[in-house]
Symmetry: C2
Subunit: 216 residues, 2 copies
């Protein structure tokens, strides 16, 4: 509004230009991945759908792997922020339950971006190097968060110290992945997704508060 308010050509700084094209290409890529899958998404289409030339996505991200890594990073970051908000000040089972709820909401609400995110996530199982590293990194961070919650719960006295911390955390993360998988292949079953999250909370609660040992 400041410099040439009348001119139709809005003047932007270089940083703003890239930020804008990045954002537009992110949207375009998300839409394309949801529509055609990641292998059906071409760099050409990403650039053009974002309103630029066929070459821009290629130029900016180098190759398909670069684009995908960018997407995972960007969406993953926004997810991480949301998660931190949801679990702030919580420890132990309460934190895990809050995180599970947040995950459910995130999946249901953010739909398209999250779907693309997880499609890429699962794609990273092949030996595709870069993407694999990024995803493994996020996954590891998740696991560490869960471990920390359990340990703080133990310290606070709300969780049995005898609990297998690492094992439970891994089980929990594995279950989340499994749930997401179900959602991806059966996207319509929204209520079903809710059920699986609830069920996971119950199972984790049981794992963290083991029944009093019978003495044989």
């Amino acid at each position: 509004m400041q410099s040439s308010a009348v001119s139709e050509v809005e003047r932007r700084t270089q940083a703003e230009r890239t930020a804008l094209s990045d954002a537009r290409m992110l949207d375009a890529a998300v839409a394309l991945i949801c529509e055609r899958g990641s292998s059906g998404t071409t760099l050409k289409d990403v650039g053009e759908r974002a309103g630029y030339s066929r070459g821009l996505a290629s130029y900016r991200f180098g190759n398909k792997g670069g684009l995908f890594a960018f997407l995972i990073r960007a969406i993953g970051e926004s997810w991480l922020t949301a998660l931190r908000g949801a679990t702030r000040d919580k420890v132990g089972l309460a934190a895990i339950e809050a995180a599970t709820d947040a995950h459910y909401r995130f999946v249901v609400e953010g739909s398209d971006a999250i779907r693309a995110f997880y499609i890429l996530w699962f794609e990273s199982t092949g030996p595709d190097a870069e993407l694999k590293r990024v995803v493994a990194n996020i996954h590891e961070r998740r696991r560490r968060d869960v471990v920390a919650w359990i340990e703080k719960g133990i310290a606070a006295g709300s969780i049995d110290p005898a609990v297998d911390t690492l094992g439970t955390a891994e089980q929990f993360c594995a279950a989340i992945i499994g749930i997401v998988y179900q959602w991806l292949v059966t996207p319509d079953a929204a209520e079903h997704l809710h059920f699986l999250h609830e069920s996971l909370k119950r199972q984790t609660a049981r794992a963290l508060q083991p029944p009093r040992l019978t003495e044989n």
Copy 2:
């Protein structure tokens, strides 16, 4: 050995020829997928690595999706057979535990084929149509098996009839998927994989034999 035993060119029936080339291309594809991922695997390389021309894989399977569907079907079938053997005559928790053990062994032993199988499995999360249907089908069959085991366990009196049959089955299948994911991204941790399977058995046992209700 029958017709021209001396001749170096062994005579085969047409059926044998295709069976042989199918098998060789399956091996080649498995190896390539493990080495380079599915997107890095070309039909040309599959044909040539199997000892044929660049065009054979394309001719036989039509397109990449066709090849992948073939792989999933072939490997999935062999897995299903192994599973049926392992759970024969078992019901309830015993069947589920046997199936879990069988899954663990299958993954550890069959390594390369199973890895390729699951890499493709996870890839099928995108909207790639054909592969997706095949995988969803196998997944559904698995789930139904688990439901049947639980129901038979209830009928046999070894499982509490109040148990949420479908929910537990889905939880179980989701956990298997999650475990496999872990293995794919961290293939070296073999003992870890064993732990996750054991842990899943324990959790499922708990879910199926809920602690006697406290009466509040």
